[in-house]
Symmetry: C2
Subunit: 372 residues, 2 copies
Amino acid sequence: MARDANKPTGIKEIAKALGVSIGTVDRALHSRPGINPMTRAKVLKMAQTMGYQPNLAARFLKSQRQLAISVLLPVEIACFFDALRDGIREAATPFGPPVHVEFRSYPRLGEGDVEFFEEALNDGAQGMIIAPGEPTAMKPLIRKAARRNVPVVCVATDAPKTERLTAITACPYTNGAIVGELLCRTIHVPGTLGVVTGSLATEDHADKLEGFRASVQTLGPRLRIATVIQAHDDESLAYSETKALLAATPDLRGIYVSTANSPPVLQAVEESNRAGSIAVITTDLFPALVPLIRSGRVLATVHQRPLAQGRLAFRALYRFLMEGICPVPKIRVAPHIVMSSNLDLFLDRMPLDVEEQAGFGVEPIWSSIIGG
Amino acid sequence: MARDANKPTGIKEIAKALGVSIGTVDRALHSRPGINPMTRAKVLKMAQTMGYQPNLAARFLKSQRQLAISVLLPVEIACFFDALRDGIREAATPFGPPVHVEFRSYPRLGEGDVEFFEEALNDGAQGMIIAPGEPTAMKPLIRKAARRNVPVVCVATDAPKTERLTAITACPYTNGAIVGELLCRTIHVPGTLGVVTGSLATEDHADKLEGFRASVQTLGPRLRIATVIQAHDDESLAYSETKALLAATPDLRGIYVSTANSPPVLQAVEESNRAGSIAVITTDLFPALVPLIRSGRVLATVHQRPLAQGRLAFRALYRFLMEGICPVPKIRVAPHIVMSSNLDLFLDRMPLDVEEQAGFGVEPIWSSIIGG
DNA sequence: TTGAAAGCGGTACCAC
DNA sequence: GTGGTACCGCTTTCAA
């Protein structure tokens, strides 16, 4: 790794080669006003041929330009959004102080984000990362930011038809589709499938359902999708509706819970004493699910990889702001399928008291494979 | 984001607060020789209380210290190792020129890496990333590097009982275990499972088999594991042995190919006309597999996430060298399960001519679900 | 054992 | 329009 003898060309070398001053070179490179177009062209060409690459360290050092990035995320579903924040932090650390990330948190999706958005904008944020719980409410704000040239990146959920720079999501369609495929492969008897979601008005939830439908249609000719329960993140509603579904559907073979609101659903299934003949696939990974996955009560859960989403969100924003690189309009993260045999690999980042949660009982239900 | 009025404490602030010179502070912070232990302690405490964080930009700017990192990886199985290199590159870019990564490539795992290792070491590499195909051959070299204080990170495969800094792998045990779980969930009739691996002398391959065994034992009481074919990455051997396995095992229901050497196996299965009743799970993702996954001939493939492995390898090495942070002894990446419904999300990084590969025929075999 | 000062490669702001 | 130069925060060297 012989230390490069011919050190990389700097602004100074270009100046010397052209017999001009470094000030002039700087003006040319940054298309600053007050420079003769001829000189400018010459400098640019020379920079090109000499293979000039700016030294980022030096740039940051002098210009003190603190890239101010504001991150607006809810507290709610801490397991998910804490990891998201960690991902952003992790991606930002290498850049050190020149990049300043500020986190603002509001109670839950769609509650109070609007006020914070205004605040961040007025405080001089140069880029933002948000999770637009209610896209319609956010739309005018994103527009406002766009007019001020402040790029906005959406994570976890998108705000379609807005001027957001890009959106990072755990591809909801695929999310639903993979669940459909798993259920179809697992259930070998004719029967009915249930779906518990949040609200079909939310794009993410609707897409998941669509993916699920498509996949079941292709792969599970003997399975039909019954009710779609919209629980609006309400625990008791999810519980009572699942109870009703169980009562009304004797041939229920599988349930897909497409939000993190799965505990009440699992509670209802457990109480029905039909856990052994109903395959449940949930969404997200949090402590309460761990023992249920281990014991087989939950066949699998779809992990939406908040850490990766955070990392990607920051990267997209950074590269746009600093390098002028425009990201693709939608960045999709492949969700992880977590089952009992790979569960342990996902627990590192979880609270340590994970194992102490109640799991309805300890006997595993491995033996009762559906339709076996 | 009110621009911090009280700007972050620098070496200068500490010096002023203590009434010493910045030189002294520098000596203290870097435990350089020639400083009064008392002064040193005072400076350190002050730095602590003032929350000093070094400005990396400035540090690199002056010290011109090019962190020289050498990466030794094979060309073979380009899909995997190219992605691995990309992951390293990607993680290294943010740091710019001060970090110099040099790639050296040799034909295949275990062939020629030793020479390159010596070379890199003599060229002054300050850190290395390797894939030790033959750990025993590598062992003395890793020791030599360790004696020179050059940390070595293993990636893709480990060199156990050596002084390597850490190893990043797609947890082989889990790899096998998840395949076992998927097969047990999918196959609902009694029968036999086959395994095609490389060589059980390779730790990675042995671990995969162990995970697979454990999982089948727990979840598949009616399935037994028959032959374990060691194909040593030889295509024709894999083909002929699979042929023999098929002939000898009329109740064969599933095959687990734990290396990238799956095409000949799939060829043999296809020729037997039993594709519809045998579930095949493969390893890694490459163009030839794509149409086979789409059509259902391959139930799933285990993606070992080379990109993520590369990223993590670089991070571990960087943090050790620059921040003195010692990584955990083994870093495990959760492998991805790729099935037909999430396949598309993994194709971004693949060659574009992916779809043109032969797929034995076009008719999907969705309908023939095993044991349905 | 310590202090002082010269850069590293840019940027920003003078003066011409 | 252009050239000169004082910094940014840290490392390094030399002098005290």
